[in-house]
C-alpha cells in the first residue's frame, strides 16, 4: 500500500520561497543532479523548497529498489513531483498485487533469478504475459526495466521484449541494459545483496534513479517541454556578441556539443527559439557568417532579439509558437535573468554553466525532454511553423479566402481506429489546450479501452497542403448512445488552428465515426470549462448555431444531417480523404 497522506502537506507548509528563489535553488541542484558521476551523499542532502505534486509509483519487483528510491525522490522533486512508492514483496513469480490505484506501475526484475523460466524467448513470452496481466488490473502506464547483462543472451531477450510490447498502449521498456553497457562490471556489486536486497552497485542505483527520475517517469506522467528559448552570449558560445563581434565570439568544443544537442532536440520535435539582449542586426549577421555553428537559422522557429525584458521576449515566443509559456524551457547563463523571467511568468528555467559542458549535461538530463519513441509529427513542427508564415503572406495577397484556400491545396485525411495512431491521439488529448473541447486527457490505455467497445471510434485527422505536411493534428473520440453519437472529445493542435478548417474537420470526423452506424440522428458534445479552451467552446457555440440545444447538465446537442454536412463540405475548397478502415493494416 502507499504511505498515508500527509507528507505533501508538510512540504507545502515549508514552501514559502518566491518563484525567483525557487528558480535559483533549482539552478543549484543542477550541479549535483546532472554531474557526470552523480554522488548519493550530495543528492540526498537536497531538500526541495517548492511545491510538489504527488505521484504514486507501484513497484513489482524481485529485488531491492529502496537504494534507488531515495535518490529517485530527489530527481523527481526537481521535476516538481513527490513520489510515493508502494512495494510488492520480493516475488519471482510476479503475482502483481494491485491494491488501490497507481499513477505508474514499474516492473523491476533481477533476471538472474528467473533463469528457470527458460531462455530469452521463453522469458520474453513470460514477461509479455505478465505485462498483459498487469494491464488487465491497472490502466496506469507500465514501465518495464529490461535485462541489464544479468542474463545470458540479455540483448536477445531485450530485443524480443521490445518487439512483443511495441504496440501495447502505455507500455514502455526502460533501457537499463544501456546503463549496464556504460558501467560495465561496476554495474553489479555482490557485496551488497544481503543488505540491500539487490546486486546493483551504488553507482548503478544512483544512475538508474537518474534515468527513472529525469527521463522515464516524467515522460510517463508529466507534459513534455515544447520549446527551448535560448540566450546567446556565453550560453551558445563563449563571448559577448556586442563586444567581440560575430567573428570574435568563440565556439568551443563544449559549446559546439551544446549546439548539436540543441539541434538534436529540435529534430525530436522541440521548437528552438533565440531570446537575446543584443542588436538585431548583430544577431542576423552572426547567424549569417558563423557557418561553423551547428545551430543554423533554419532550425529556429522564433527569434526574439531586443533590449527589453526577457520575460516579454519569452511571452512573444510563446505567442509566435502558439504555446503557453509554461511549456517553454528558458536557458540562460545569467542567474539574474533566469530569476527575473521566473518571477514574471510561469516558465521552466535552466542555468547554462560557463563552459557549455554543464549545459550539454543539463540538456541531456533535464526532465520532460525525453520521449519514448519518435513521433512522425515531431520532425514536422518547425517546418510547419515556417509554412504558416508563408501562408499568412499568401492570405494577404489572395483576392479572396476561397482562392487562397484553393491555392494551398489543403488536404484533410481521416482514419478510424488505427492502433498505431493511438499514442499520437493520446498526445493530442493531453497536450492541446486551446482546442480541447472536453479536456478528457485520455491515455493510450484509455483509448484502447474506448475502442474495445463496438461502435466507438477514435478518429485521426491529418492535415497537409502544398507548403507543409502537418501530420496528425486532430482527433475526435466518439461512442454511440442510441440515436446519438456522443463526442467524448474533440482536439485540434494549435498548429492547425486559424485556418477555418474546424467545421469541416468536425463534420468529416463525425462522418467517419458514423460510418456503419445506422440511425444516428444527433451528435452530442459535453464541453468542459478549462483555463485555456475558450477557442474550442467558442467554436462549438458557432457550430451548434441556433438549432443546437443545450441542457442544464452541460450537453450540447446538434442534429446530424449527412446531406447538409455534404453541402457544407462541398463548398469548402479542401480535399477530403477517408482512409478505408477495411484496407488499413493494424486496424484496431
Amino acid at each position: 500500500m502507499f504511505p498515508p497522506a500527509g507528507r505533501i502537506g508538510k512540504l507545502a507548509e515549508q514552501v514559502s520561497a518566491t518563484d525567483a528563489e525557487v528558480c535559483l535553488a533549482r539552478a543549484e541542484w543542477q550541479r549535483v543532479l546532472f554531474a557526470p558521476a552523480p554522488r548519493r551523499h550530495e543528492i540526498l542532502k537536497l531538500r526541495p523548497t517548492w511545491p510538489l505534486r504527488n505521484v504514486r509509483l507501484r513497484v513489482h519487483r524481485n529485488h531491492g529498489f529502496e537504494p534507488v528510491a531515495s535518490v529517485l525522490e530527489k530527481y523527481l522533486a526537481y521535476t516538481g513531483l513527490a513520489v510515493e512508492v508502494a512495494y510488492s514483496a520480493y516475488d519471482d513469480s510476479l503475482s502483481l498485487s494491485t491494491p488501490g490505484p497507481a499513477d505508474v506501475e514499474l516492473i523491476w526484475l533481477d533476471f538472474s533469478r528467473l533463469v528457470a523460466i527458460g531462455g530469452a524467448e521463453e522469458l520474453a513470452a513470460w514477461a509479455l504475459e505478465r505485462i498483459e496481466a498487469l494491464r488487465g488490473k491497472s490502466p496506469a502506464p507500465i514501465l518495464f526495466t529490461d535485462a541489464a547483462g544479468d542474463l545470458d543472451r540479455a540483448a536477445e531477450f531485450n530485443a524480443q521484449l521490445r518487439e512483443l510490447t511495441g504496440n501495447l498502449p502505455g507500455v514502455h521498456i526502460c533501457d537499463l541494459g544501456q546503463l549496464h553497457a556504460q558501467l560495465g562490471p561496476a554495474f553489479f556489486d555482490e557485496r551488497t545483496l544481503a543488505t540491500s536486497g539487490t546486486r546493483m552497485s551504488n553507482a548503478a542505483c544512483v544512475q538508474a534513479a537518474r534515468w527513472l527520475g529525469s527521463r522515464w517517469l516524467p515522460a510517463a506522467v508529466a507534459p513534455r517541454i515544447k520549446a527551448l528559448a535560448l540566450d546567446l552570449d556565453n550560453t551558445l558560445y563563449e563571448g559577448v556578441l556586442g563586444e567581440d563581434g560575430p567573428e570574435g565570439v568563440r565556439l568551443t568544443d563544449a559549446h559546439a556539443a551544446l549546439q548539436r544537442r540543441v539541434v538534436e532536440l529540435g529534430a525530436e520535435g522541440i521548437f528552438l527559439a533565440l531570446c537575446s539582449r543584443n542588436e538585431p542586426a548583430d544577431v542576423e549577421r552572426l547567424l549569417a557568417v558563423r557557418t561553423d555553428f551547428p545551430l543554423r537559422p533554419e532550425h529556429l522557429a522564433a527569434t526574439e532579439v531586443s533590449w527589453g525584458p526577457k520575460a516579454d521576449a519569452v511571452r512573444r515566443i510563446a505567442d509566435k509558437l502558439r504555446i503557453g509559456t509554461d511549456a517553454i524551457l528558458f536557458v540562460d547563463d545569467n542567474p539574474g535573468e533566469l530569476a527575473a523571467v521566473a518571477s514574471a511568468i510561469p516558465v521552466s528555467t535552466l542555468y547554462a554553466g560557463p563552459t557549455g559542458a554543464d549545459s550539454v549535461a543539463a540538456l541531456n538530463w533535464y526532465p520532460r525532454l525525453f520521449r519514448w519513441r519518435a513521433d512522425e509529427t515531431d520532425a514536422l513542427r518547425t517546418g510547419d511553423l515556417t509554412a504558416s508564415r508563408v501562408r499568412e503572406d499568401l492570405a494577404a495577397k489572395a483576392p479572396d479566402k476561397a482562392a487562397y484556400m484553393r491555392s494551398l491545396g489543403v488536404r484533410l485525411q481521416f482514419s478510424r481506429n488505427v492502433q498505431g495512431e493511438l499514442e499520437r491521439l493520446s498526445a493530442l488529448s493531453n497536450k492541446t489546450n486551446q482546442f480541447n473541447l472536453s479536456l478528457s486527457r485520455c491515455s493510450p490505455v484509455d483509448l484502447a479501452q474506448l475502442l474495445a467497445e463496438p461502435g466507438n471510434s477514435a478518429i485521426a485527422i491529418r492535415l497537409s497542403d502544398r507548403l507543409s505536411d502537418s501530420g496528425i493534428i486532430g482527433t475526435m473520440l466518439t461512442r454511440r448512445d442510441g440515436a446519438a453519437l456522443i463526442v467524448e472529445d474533440f482536439c485540434i493542435s494549435c498548429r492547425a488552428l486559424g485556418r477555418d478548417l474546424e467545421d469541416v474537420m468536425a463534420l468529416e470526423a463525425i462522418r467517419a465515426a458514423t460510418d456503419g452506424l445506422d440511425g444516428i440522428r444527433h451528435v452530442r458534445f459535453h464541453p468542459a470549462v478549462g483555463p485555456r479552451n475558450q477557442p474550442a467552446r467558442d467554436w462549438l457555440d458557432g457550430f451548434a448555431g441556433e438549432t443546437g440545444r443545450s441542457d442544464p447538465q452541460g450537453w450540447v446537442t446538434v442534429n446530424w444531417d449527412r446531406s447538409a454536412a455534404d453541402d457544407l463540405v462541398e463548398r469548402m475548397p479542401v480535399i477530403v480523404e477517408h482512409r478505408d478502415p477495411g484496407k488499413q493494416e493494424q486496424s484496431a
Binding site: 548519493r40 551523499h41 540526498l44 531491492g64 531515495s70 555482490e190 557485496r191 543488505t195 540491500s196 551504488n202
Partner: protein, 82 residues
C-alpha cells in the same frame, strides 16, 4: 585521517540518512536507533565509500553496528590508504 577529522563527516552522513540532527556526543546504535534499518545502513556505507574512496568488505557491512565502530573503521581504512 584522525578520529576528530572523521567523526564530524560520519555524523553529517548520519544526519542525511536519518534525517535528523545528531549531537556531537551522541553514540548511535542499530539496536536502539529506529530509523537505522538495513536500507539506511547500506545507504550510509555507500555514502562513506563515495566520500572516502575505499570500499567496505561484505563482513564489515554486516558487522558495523554503531556510529563509533564506523568512525573507527573510517580512521583505520583511510590510514591504510596513506
Amino acid at each position: 585521517m584522525t578520529r576528530d577529522e572523521a567523526e564530524p563527516i560520519v555524523r553529517s552522513m548520519f544526519e542525511i540518512v536519518l534525517n535528523r540532527p545528531i549531537g556531537t556526543d551522541e553514540e548511535l546504535s542499530r539496536e536502539t536507533e529506529g530509523g537505522w534499518d538495513s536500507v539506511r545502513h547500506i545507504e550510509l556505507l555507500f555514502m562513506l565509500e563515495e566520500e572516502f574512496g575505499f570500499t567496505f568488505t561484505e563482513d564489515e557491512m554486516a558487522d558495523l553496528n554503531t556510529s563509533g565502530e564506523i568512525v573507527d573503521k573510517v580512521v583505520a581504512r583511510t590510514s591504510d590508504q596513506q
